[in-house]
């Protein structure tokens, strides 16, 4: 995965609405899906049985919900640093990201505000594949120290 991890946390004061959130891009290979299925113990066949997936209306086997949770959290904290805390994660899967697709993320800061003494940012992250520029869309609330 092409991403850079930072070991210092972003200073909330220096972030602006509209700032870009560093993206990632990587292919979904059989190995990606194998690690996803094994790591999350999700043996539901739609994630590993190509025939089952196709018979049930999917293009092919695809990554699961927990994969997106991990990925969106990682995109947020790789960008903001280790002391950022994921407060809220909401996403909708408009279409699946399947075996053979390449996922590319793009995102930005959509809101900067304080609530109850907390320094908060809202991020919107889109995952695109070759067929759908908005296959998965996430809204994240991130708290900075």
């Amino acid at each position: 995965m092409s991403t850079s991890t930072r070991f210092t946390t972003l200073d909330w004061d220096t972030v602006n609405e509209g700032d870009e959130v560093t993206g990632v891009t990587f292919p979904i290979t059989m190995r990606t899906l194998m690690i996803d299925v094994a790591g999350t113990r999700d043996l539901y066949p739609i994630h590993h049985d190509r025939e089952f997936a196709k018979k049930n209306g999917a293009r092919d086997i695809f990554v699961n919900t927990m994969f997106y949770e991990g990925l969106f959290g990682r995109i947020a904290t790789d960008w903001a640093g280790p002391e950022a805390f994921l407060r809220k994660l909401r996403f909708s899967m408009k279409s699946p990201n399947c075996l053979g697709d390449t996922i590319t993320s793009r995102g930005s800061v959509t809101r900067k505000y304080q609530d109850d003494g907390r320094n908060l940012l809202e991020l919107e992250i889109h995952l695109a594949n070759e067929l759908d520029p908005d296959a998965t869309v996430a809204n994240i609330t991130l708290e900075l120290p």
């Binding site: 209306g57 927990m66 002391e83 805390f85």
Partner: protein
């Protein structure tokens, strides 16, 4: 934050914390358990839930199966991570409730219903509320092959 105790102790969290998104993967009911663990797992579950809080089967899913809507796919999810959690908090407790079932709908992959459920997560030690999630699951029957 997740694995370097020296770093984590010097952070504002003061200790190692779990990636918040692990709430779902750590409480996920595995689709498959090795035979040699199956008995132990069910005995553990029974011992932890003396009031029989773990139903044999979700009544809504049983109705979906009856209607032929046997395939699962998550359509969307929203999780609020109320507080950090980590080593020292004991086991995770969860309580789920089905809150909404849509009318039958035609969707891209076939015909089915959207089932919404809300889950609350707490720590065993101190009974602290750490997360709340709302998940929308599509239960469907494929109409095209």
């Amino acid at each position: 934050m997740y694995w370097d105790s020296e770093f984590a102790e010097s952070s504002h969290f003061g200790r190692i914390i779990a990636p918040p998104q692990s709430l779902f993967s750590m409480t996920f009911g595995a689709w498959w358990t090795p035979d040699y663990l199956e008995r132990k797992t069910s005995e553990d579950a029974a011992a932890l839930n003396p009031d029989g809080a773990v139903p044999e089967q979700n009544a809504v899913y049983a109705l979906c199966d009856e209607a032929g809507f046997t395939v699962n796919t998550v359509a969307g999810q929203e999780v609020e991570y109320v507080a950090p959690f980590g080593p020292g908090d004991g086991r995770l407790k969860m309580r789920s409730m089905t809150t909404e079932v849509s009318a039958e709908k035609n969707v891209r992959v076939g015909r089915g219903v959207f089932v919404t459920s809300v889950t609350e997560y707490r720590t065993e030690v101190g009974d602290r509320l750490i997360g709340r999630s709302t998940m929308v699951l599509l239960r469907y029957k494929a109409t095209k092959e």
